[in-house]
């Protein structure tokens, strides 16, 4: 039978589509929960200190290969650190970096997006000019400069990623606000004499929060992969912190030499996390978009 799919409108325009999954995305959410679990209990789960190694036992392969042992189940890296322990602690670093960076970007972007969209005029001009400038500056360039200014540390990487990516939020949220402004309840609130601040806080924010959440899940992936690229360019999370992106950048040389476990394991972790976040985001799009709740 031919299919006519109901007309749907995207809340988040153009950057990503609305997605339909059969029910709850069980696998992606389980993966994310697992990563979160590992991140929280890293201290208990990790068999070794992730930051300490010894050159005497560098490049040990995973246990099932010749020369590997169960002491270091997934092998050791170029400084002789346990790859499994680094992956486990890496979950924490990547989760913290990813989520906080998205929060930073999301808060700045949502706030400015709302102000820009609702207040219009002068405020709008300032915010939009800044976003234009930001967008014209390649993200990595910007990140390298910021890294040079503030120096590398986990916290600074979070700030950098947040500062690089807030504009994406600002643009989307502003667009949403512009259409919300035309809606009855906002007009009613204006007529009822609510202050602009109250309207933005009480009426606009709750209505854009869904889009912000959806965008956040999609941005999580972007942020984590960017973090890896920054490490590749030498301005990411500083070693010996076990971040997945850093592990990949550090281990990339090993790839050519047959030490595949150095990059493949963190690669799988990043891939699973990013894929899951994206699939969850796409599902949330459908769930959180009121226009799609009818069926």
């Amino acid at each position: 039978m031919a299919v006519i799919t109901p007309v749907t409108t995207d809340t988040v325009a153009s950057t990503a589509p609305f997605w339909r999954l059969k029910g709850f995305p069980v696998i992606p959410v389980s993966i994310l929960l697992l990563i979160a679990f590992v991140a929280v209990f890293a201290d208990v789960l990790a068999p070794h200190d992730p930051q300490i190694g010894s050159l005497a036992r560098r490049f040990k392969p995973p246990f099932w290969l010749e020369g590997g042992s169960l002491v270091y189940p997934l092998g050791t890296d170029h400084v002789g650190r346990d790859v499994l322990s680094r992956l486990i602690f890496g979950a924490r670093v990547s989760m913290v970096v990813g989520i906080t960076a998205v929060l930073v970007a999301g808060s700045i972007g949502t706030l400015l997006g709302i102000m820009s969209g609702y207040l219009g005029g002068w405020a709008d001009q300032v915010v939009m000019r800044i976003t234009d400038t930001w967008l014209a500056l390649p993200a990595l360039t910007f990140a390298i400069f910021l890294a040079a200014i503030v120096g590398p540390s986990e916290l600074n990487i979070i700030l950098i990623l947040g500062l690089v990516y807030w504009t994406r939020y600002a643009r989307v949220i502003r667009g949403e606000v512009l259409s919300l402004k035309q809606r009855e309840f906002v007009r009613l609130a204006v007529v009822a004499g609510c202050s602009s601040r109250l309207i933005m806080w009480r009426h606009i924010l709750p209505n854009v929060i869904n889009s912000a959440i959806v965008l956040a899940t999609l941005m999580l992936g972007v942020v984590i992969v960017t973090e890896a690229s920054l490490s590749f360019l030498g301005v990411g999370v500083p070693p010996p912190k076990p971040a997945w992106g850093l592990m990949m950048a550090d281990g990339k040389k090993g790839l050519m030499v047959g030490y595949w476990w150095l990059t493949v394991f963190p690669g799988i972790c990043i891939m699973l996390m990013v894929l899951s976040a994206n699939l969850l985001g796409d599902w949330l799009r459908v769930k959180l978009d009121p226009q799609l709740r009818q069926l």
Partner: protein
């Protein structure tokens, strides 16, 4: 309409001005090119000498004034590292970047559009998931890793493709794929959502009511409409690709703009960084401007709103 365009152009120029100040200051506060042109511990005389040669002994505002004045004269200055005009460098690299971006975009659309259509037409089916996940994978893996795995497999192991550099078509394949794959997810998503939107439209309903075969409904009526936003995005992304391919260009030793910029940053080659960022910014601002104006021409509501 004229007024609208004039205003948008004005904003764009303002943005570019902000960009020029930002990049001018950024590049200066974050490092000293002289310390990179000599070994640490070089004699103060040599350092002073180089500083004078590069014009870094002048006060900041004077440097900025000089930079802006030359910019309006169409001169972006001389590279500290290469000691040749930045524009020369830029136009030597630009064809490579354009080529890479164009092929990468073609590959990206080749992945993104079919998987997007499949995802929209076969919602929740096997092909939906397969296409979706394939397109998303490009986004989920760091480019440097994808690049190295490709080199390892196609160059070292199979020996089919040259590992790096530029030259023939074969040189282009791996970097273009790596770059294109990263962007494929965005094109897939937009194709999918745009396709779904179009499929829900009245004219698609009518096309079906006419008794057209499904292939004709999708391939003719829906696709052509659904591709409009995708092509718009592709246009913007093409410009973006030219400017952000640092990682791919580094891994594959591709002599493009991204690497020029990256090396400019690492050497604090102020004129190169300023020049590349400003030209890149102008390109992006211009494309956005064009899109805005085109949409305004199509949709009068936008004009009223802003």
């Amino acid at each position: 309409m004229k007024q609208y365009i004039a205003r948008r152009v004005g904003y764009s120029l303002l943005s570019l001005f902000l960009l020029s100040v930002t990049i001018f200051l950024f590049v200066r506060v974050t490092g000293d090119p002289v310390s990179l042109l000599v070994e640490p511990g070089a004699s103060p005389e040599d350092i002073e000498n180089i500083r004078r040669q590069l014009g870094l002994d002048q006060p900041l505002w004077e440097q900025y004034w000089h930079f802006m004045a030359s910019l309006f004269a169409g001169d972006l200055g001389q590279s500290f590292y290469y000691r040749v005009p930045v524009l020369d460098l830029y136009f030597q690299r630009l064809p490579h970047s354009l080529l890479l971006a164009a092929v990468a975009m073609a590959l990206s659309l080749l992945i993104g559009i079919p998987s997007g259509i499949l995802a929209a037409v076969r919602v929740d089916g096997f092909w939906d998931s397969a296409g979706k996940i394939f397109a998303l994978l490009g986004l989920s893996l760091p480019q440097f890793w994808v690049g190295l795995v490709l080199i390892l497999f196609f160059s070292v192991y199979l020996g089919w493709l040259p590992s790096s550099g530029s030259g023939g078509v074969l040189h282009l394949l791996m970097p273009a794929f790596t770059l294109g794959w990263y962007f494929a997810a965005a094109h897939m998503r937009l194709t999918r959502s745009s396709m779904l939107e179009v499929l829900g439209s009245e004219y698609i309903k009518l096309a079906r009511l006419k008794g057209l075969p499904e292939a004709l409904v999708i391939g003719k009526h829906a696709l052509k409409n659904a591709l409009i936003p995708v092509i718009t995005l592709a246009g913007i992304n093409l410009v973006v690709m030219i400017n952000v391919a640092v990682v791919v260009e580094t891994v594959f030793a591709w002599p493009g703009i991204g690497r020029l910029l990256y090396e400019g940053i690492t050497f604090r080659d102020f004129p190169v960084v300023q020049g590349v960022v400003i030209i890149g910014g102008a390109m992006i601002v211009m494309v956005n401007l064009l899109v805005d104006i085109l949409y305004a021409l199509i949709d009068p509501r936008i004009r009223l709103e802003s």
